[in-house]
Amino acid sequence: MSVVGVRERLVPELSRYAKGAMSIAGLVTVWGAIARADLIGSMPGPVATLEALGALLVNPVIHRAVQFSMFHIVGSYLVAVVLAVPLGLVIGWKSIVHDLVFPSMEILRPVPPIAWIPLTILVLPSVRTSIMFITFMGAFFPILLNTIRGVHAIESDYKKAIKSLGGSSTDVFRNVVYPGSLPSIHTGLVVGMGLAWVNLVAAEMVADEGLGRFVWVSYTSGAYDNIVASVIMIGALGYGSSELVRWLGATQLTWADTG
């Protein structure tokens, strides 16, 4: 590739990162101004938070909390994927399954997952399973609905094409239904990861484990800078795991690359 070609590719990239950095710098400036002006009680400023964050990163308590949270997230998310993707494919593919299963899903879906917390704590055998169930609920529905949507969006002529090439129903599933719905499944996986984190933190606050617990303990002990520092950590981990899912998916879906 020519030098000009490389430059053409790098310049828009750089400016995109530069804009991103400017955006974050702006946020930190506003935050610092608000903290300095004492507008909101005793809100810790960027410098205090950074110090707290530095201390947290070497604190064994937070290491343990992160380990718990990651275990909850990964476990619940995997269970959600393993259940929601096949179920979504079948519901999308076979209208009889859709008509039998989907209505009950539609009743459960609008319930805010946090509303399940009291019941799960009472009913499920341990705090850990309660947290994981709530987290699972966050990931399950976006993955399920996007999978169904992906199957429904496939042009039916592709199925006809496979049939007229001598393919069976199984061939249609393997060559059309599954690969054709992957871009939409991928969207569901990214959204599902984000909502899994939302639910995880809420559940952990109540059920007293992991990063959610750490935020809550910081609150009850009045460690303002630790609250903000751990919120930043949760944000970074949530963002990182969503990006990981997005990146992994994109490497598998080169044909759907729309730039």
């Binding site: 094409a161 007229s164 001598g166 393919g167 059309v176 080169t254 044909w255 759907a256």
Partner: protein, 270 residues
């Protein structure tokens, strides 16, 4: 292609010569109890290796007829026989080329061409490249369909069909979305492929010149409900080149067919 096709049909069963027999085929759609007759009373025999085009205004049911023969939908009346047997759903013997290409976007061109043989479990190495070569698409093996132009996509779809070696090719306005030059090139290419392999072709179009240039016989349909208006014999020698379109004989045939269609249009308006 396969030897069996060059031999006369001595076996009544299991032969794939590619004759199509339509016996009073009728398709009525029934949305909300309101009868919509798409095609009616279509009776025609198509010989193995014959090239028949179906010509008619849009909405005359010509695609419905093709869907019936492909086995995608069932006629509500009459029967469709292929090589003497009533068809039962789609089959690899009756390949379909769609109006918009239906190459699988998630598979490379080579994977698309190989898909028929792959589903049967007998992929022959190098066969896809050979067919792509034949269609003037060498070097596109590892590309995705979206990376090809419209004309190349249609050629790749024809290669996919040839890989499956069907006795019958059903083509539903395959070139109607292409520009005039590409369209003419593909028409000539299709005639070459057809002359080499001698498959039966049923080709739907609304383009009078295309219908006459390609066909042995043109089935002109009436406007809704679709019936046979007339079957026009195209007695023009083969191999044909695009220049036949300027001959007097071609022009006469074209005038005749246009007359039939205008008559139809007038009746439909009254």
């Amino acid at each position: 292609m396969s030897d069996s096709k060059q031999e006369p049909a001595t076996e009544a069963q299991g032969s794939t010569d590619g004759s199509i027999h339509l016996d009073s085929v009728e398709k009525v759609y029934d949305p909300d109890g309101e009868h919509v007759v798409a095609v009616e009373d279509i009776t025609m025999h198509i010989e193995p290796g014959e090239f028949v085009t179906v010509l008619g205004p849009s909405g005359c049911g010509k695609s419905t007829l093709l869907d019936c023969i492909a086995g995608f939908i069932e006629p509500t009346g009459g029967n469709i026989y292929v090589d003497g047997e009533i068809i039962n759903g789609p089959s690899a013997d009756r390949g379909v080329v769609f109006q918009e290409n239906r190459l699988l976007p998630w598979k490379t061109i080579e994977e698309n061409v190989n898909i028929g043989p792959k589903m049967r479990g007998d992929v022959e190495t190098g066969r896809a490249s050979q067919l792509l070569d034949r269609m003037g698409l060498d070097g596109t093996e590892t590309q995705y369909p979206s990376e090809l132009s419209g004309g190349m996509q249609q050629r790749a779809e024809i290669a996919r069909l040839l890989a499956n070696d069907p006795a019958i090719m059903l083509m539903d306005e395959p070139f109607s979305a292409l520009d005039a030059l590409t369209k003419e090139m593909l028409q000539e290419m299709l005639l070459e492929v057809w002359a080499e392999d001698n498959r039966t072709v049923l080709f739907i179009t609304h383009d009078v010149e295309e219908a006459l240039f390609l066909a042995d016989r043109v089935l002109v349909m009436t406007a809704g409900p679709g019936r046979i208006k007339e079957i026009v014999d195209v007695d023009i020698e083969r191999p044909r080149e695009l220049s036949v379109m300027t001959t007097d004989h071609f022009t006469d045939l074209k005038d005749h067919v246009l007359h039939l269609i205008h008559e139809e249009a007038r009746e439909a308006m009254e």
